[in-house]
Symmetry: C2
Subunit: 120 residues, 2 copies
């Protein structure tokens, strides 16, 4: 496939659910995903995978066990592997994720909110 450029706003318009990461690009063994956040997710951690969050619209909080990290548009944060976290968004936020292809959205928690990411 001839690689195409990705317009993030256009891709976000095609996502009509929250907490369902969708793949927009691959870079070696990493996926770049976009996700809409609203409300609370579940506490979880990724044993061997760091996870990057970059806010492209709105704001949200990464809750850690010892503190909250509040992220606004144009800010990014990497949750190190093994660290428990729970994303929380009072209002809808648009977030770009960067994580290994092997990363599962709910990490070690599993459960009904686990989804296999698809391309958008």
């Amino acid at each position: 496939m001839r690689p195409a450029k990705v317009n993030l706003e256009e891709k976000f318009r095609k996502v009509d659910t929250t907490w369902t990461p969708r793949i927009v690009a691959e870079v070696n063994d990493f996926f770049v995903k976009i996700v809409k956040l609203r409300g609370e997710f579940v506490w979880h951690r990724h044993e061997s995978e760091d996870e990057l969050f970059l806010v492209t619209k709105g704001e949200f909080t990464v809750r850690l066990r010892d503190r909250d990290v509040r992220l606004r548009e144009g800010e990014l944060f990497v949750v190190p592997r093994g660290v428990e976290h729970m994303p929380v968004a009072a209002h809808e936020a648009h977030v770009l994720l960067l994580e290994r292809k092997s990363t599962v959205n709910t990490g070690d928690a599993g459960g009904e909110r686990t989804v296999a990411p698809e391309w958008v």
Copy 2:
């Protein structure tokens, strides 16, 4: 080190040169870098490393041998491994790079524009 959030605008304010990628985050074996572009770079390719460009301010063009890919704010493009490319920016553009830690900015071309990336 306790991971801190990164405000991209603040980081860009600390970069006073063009074509010198600076590291702002690491995600497993990848670095997230920021770079200011203005003018022409050199034709080069990365043998085994894909390279992602995401424009956070302004616009620039990724020249490929068979076409030009013009990127504006909020757009990203992945240059697949092995593909020759040359970034060109008529005006200063702010770009986020995502690439393996092993990636050298000038790829196979080498030369005087090669720089070892430092954190900012």
